[in-house]
């Protein structure tokens, strides 16, 4: 779950990291009144989740409230990578004498957090790490210990050595303090990624977070209910996604003609590969490792109501669950409804024989081989209609 810039900044502020004065506007008139309150030059920052707002020319500067309003008028209603601009963060323009990069991420192979720090702020860290790797300090953190005082000081010294003006006031100590606050944010909010880029250095040598990004681990959302809201999608699809999530389902639309209901992420991927190999195209898939009789009935409804499906493949390799229960779910649905497409069932695993008998009684012959079942699906979508 990626947070909007304004949410990330609010969190930074709460942790003792300073941010520019400003507020959110939902209309050009609000932009104007905020500009009046802030006095002086301002920055307009559309709140989207996709990156590259600057490159797309969406970050605007204005010297007067009139200019700000006009700029706001030209930004509201535009879209950026599919996201509608309906909220703009209006901030004071801060005078700087330098910019740093500060990021923290999870190093997956090493299974620990890593701090990324550079005296070269404002640019993309991916580019920097390729072009000037010497300008990035990568510092792994022992998560049991946390970021220690002396580690934070070492990191601050790295910056101070390369950009002495970074800490005019208190030497590297102010940056050290900021690093400790930043690490607290990373931990407290279960971040996969936290970034302040640029981290501005003001005229007096103090630091200010000019932009911020936080990505919260989806599995830890329960610890941060206050942050849960629709993000760059409709309220309706957000609710649907949350409902599937609560059931432990993954549902993805793909635009082809074969529906796939299967048990487990790995096997779903293998099925997608095989369908592709045989020249077919998946319409959508629903993957769930833990499906019972009621679950399969509910899943059926999703496929029934989605357009474009010309055949549904049900693939079950029952490990945690049982074939007979799932067959009962299929039977329940077919007794109540007539789906508008043919169904191919591949079913093996726990209580396979019992499940097979249930399906055969309602006229479905389950297939035991994975490749065979896919051949049959392909034949059905290609066949005469």
């Amino acid at each position: 779950m990626k947070l909007y810039e304004y949410e990330a900044k609010k969190i930074f502020e709460g942790a003792g990291i300073s941010i520019p004065r400003g507020a959110l506007a939902a209309s050009p008139e609000q932009v104007r009144s905020l500009a009046e309150q802030l006095k002086g030059p301002i920055v307009l920052k559309p709140q989207t989740l996709s990156k590259q707002r600057g490159k797309a020319g969406l970050i605007g500067f204005a010297d007067t409230p009139q200019e700000a309003e006009a700029l706001g008028r030209s930004l509201f209603g535009r879209t950026h990578e599919g996201e509608l601009i309906d909220t703009i963060l209006v901030e004071e323009k801060v005078l700087l004498k330098g910019e740093l990069y500060l990021g923290m991420a999870v190093d997956y192979p090493r299974e620990q957090p890593v701090i990324l720090l550079s005296p070269s702020g404002g640019i993309e860290i991916e580019t920097l790490s390729q072009e000037k790797p010497g300008l990035i300090k990568k510092w792994p953190i022992n998560i049991s210990q946390g970021l220690t005082d002396s580690e934070a000081l070492t990191l601050a010294q790295f910056i101070y050595d390369r950009q002495p003006e970074a800490a005019q006031g208190g030497g590297p100590f102010e940056l050290k303090q900021l690093l400790l606050c930043f690490y607290e944010v990373f931990r407290k909010y279960d971040c996969e990624l936290a970034e302040i880029n640029p981290l501005g250095i003001r005229e007096d040598g103090s630091f200010i977070a000019l932009d911020g990004a936080l990505v919260i681990d989806d599995e830890a959302q329960f610890r941060h209910p206050e942050l849960l809201r629709p993000r760059a999608q409709s309220e309706e699809s957000f609710k649907q996604e949350q409902a599937y999530k609560a059931k432990g389902w993954t549902y993805i639309q793909m635009g082809g003609e074969i529906g796939i209901l299967s048990s487990g992420a790995g096997i779903t991927m293998a099925i997608l590969d095989l369908i592709h190999l045989k020249g077919g195209k998946a319409a959508n898939f629903l993957d769930t490792a833990q499906m019972n009789r009621q679950g399969i009935y509910e899943a059926f409804q999703i496929f029934h109501n989605s357009t474009g499906i010309r055949c549904l493949l049900i693939n079950i390799f029952a490990g945690l669950n049982r074939c007979d229960e799932l067959a009962d779910g299929i039977k329940d649905y077919l007794m109540a409804y007539q789906p508008p497409f043919p169904i191919v069932v591949r079913m093996v695993g726990n209580r396979e024989k019992e499940g097979r008998e249930i399906l055969e009684r309602i006229g479905i012959t389950p297939i035991a081989g994975l490749e065979e079942s896919i051949d049959q699906v392909i034949a059905l979508v290609r066949g005469p209609r």
């Binding site: 999870v106 997956y108 192979p109 299974e111 620990q112 957090p113 022992n142 998560i143 049991s144 931990r187 279960d190 996969e192 681990d217 989806d218 599995e219 830890a220 329960f222 610890r223 432990g248 993954t250 993805i252 793909m254 299967s262 048990s263 487990g264 992420a265 790995g266 096997i267 779903t268 991927m269 293998a270 997608l272 590969d273 095989l274 369908i275 592709h276 190999l277 993957d287 490792a289 390799f317 029952a318 490990g319 945690l320 093996v348 695993g349 726990n350 994975l370 490749e371």
Partner: protein
């Protein structure tokens, strides 16, 4: 022989009184696993299929030597429960739970490294050693046969699919491990390969990988360095998975986390590994080379 779990491994089940835990305790016992105790605070003195239940791991450890623990514990409580097991000296943990928060997993694995504890998972179907008739987790035993192929996989269902075909092809297994589908898991492919390399009864290995992450590349590096001499076969799923979407495994994120199937296949082939691009293909390869 096998790796990590043997016929005389004494097993504890954490959260043994839950519905799934009960069912799988029964299945594990029927297969032959030596489950000596279960833990569930407040249920001390009860029994689950004849297995005594204790209020704490400490109590269980007073009565029994415990070598390994299987955790059937809700995601939110996994960290605490796993720490309790480590604090009581248990050296092998199998965490079947899905949806464990990333920071909890990082914390656990750091502790495990410090203490030399092996963690399998989170989000794993567990491991099974057919020659020793023991399993820790919930893989369906029906398809497993004793033999000399060691298997490591990131996915439960794909494991069943491939192992059922290995068995049908007459290739039994020494140990089969689901390393877990999460982005962060304890025992990684490279460590499993080393263990199989040392196991005299494992003659060949099968890795079942998927898109995302870097475990396959680490394995390739190890093999390229000559540290693995036994033949390794690989199948990787997800070459046509939709970009930028999560399929289900947190580990199978395409956007930004790790590399594509094609680059994985390329580095593995460069390291001299035989890579099958379909399930049937890799099994065929193994049949030709191993019999």
């Amino acid at each position: 022989m096998s790796i990590l779990a043997y016929g005389d491994t004494n097993v504890l089940i954490q959260g043994i009184t839950g519905g799934q835990a009960r069912q799988h305790t029964k299945d594990m016992l029927e297969y032959g696993t030596r489950i000596v105790a279960g833990v569930r605070p407040g249920s001390g003195g009860d029994q689950v299929y004849g297995v005594p239940v204790f209020n704490s791991i400490e109590d269980a450890c007073h009565e029994h030597r415990i070598d390994a623990s299987v955790l059937f514990i809700p995601a939110k409580a996994v960290k605490e429960s796993a720490l309790e097991a480590m604090n009581n000296g248990i050296r092998l943990l199998v965490i079947v739970t899905e949806h464990v928060p990333l920071h909890d997993a990082m914390g656990l694995l750091e502790e495990a490294r410090k203490r030399g504890v092996t963690i399998i998972g989170p989000n794993t179907p567990g491991l099974i050693s057919p020659p020793e008739r023991t399993k820790l987790g919930f893989v369906p035993t029906l398809y497993f046969r004793p033999g000399f192929v060691g298997v490591a996989s990131r996915s439960g269902t794909l494991t069943y699919e491939l192992v059922s075909r290995l068995t049908a092809a007459g290739l039994g297994q020494s140990t089969v491990i689901g390393v877990g589908g999460d982005r962060i898991v304890g025992l990684r492919f490279s460590s499993v390969l080393k263990l199989f390399e040392e196991d005299p009864n494992t003659k060949a290995m099968l890795l079942v990988g998927e898109i995302g992450g870097t475990m396959e590349e680490e394995a390739a590096e190890l093999i390229a360095r000559g540290e693995i001499r036994k033949p390794v076969f690989v199948y990787i799923a997800g070459s046509t998975a939709p970009e930028g979407q999560r399929i289900g495994h947190a580990g199978a994120i395409i956007a930004g986390a790790g590399s594509s199937v094609h680059s994985k296949v390329a580095v593995l082939r460069q390291a001299g590994v035989q890579v099958g691009t379909t399930i049937a293909g890799v099994i065929e390869m193994m049949k030709e080379n191993l019999r």
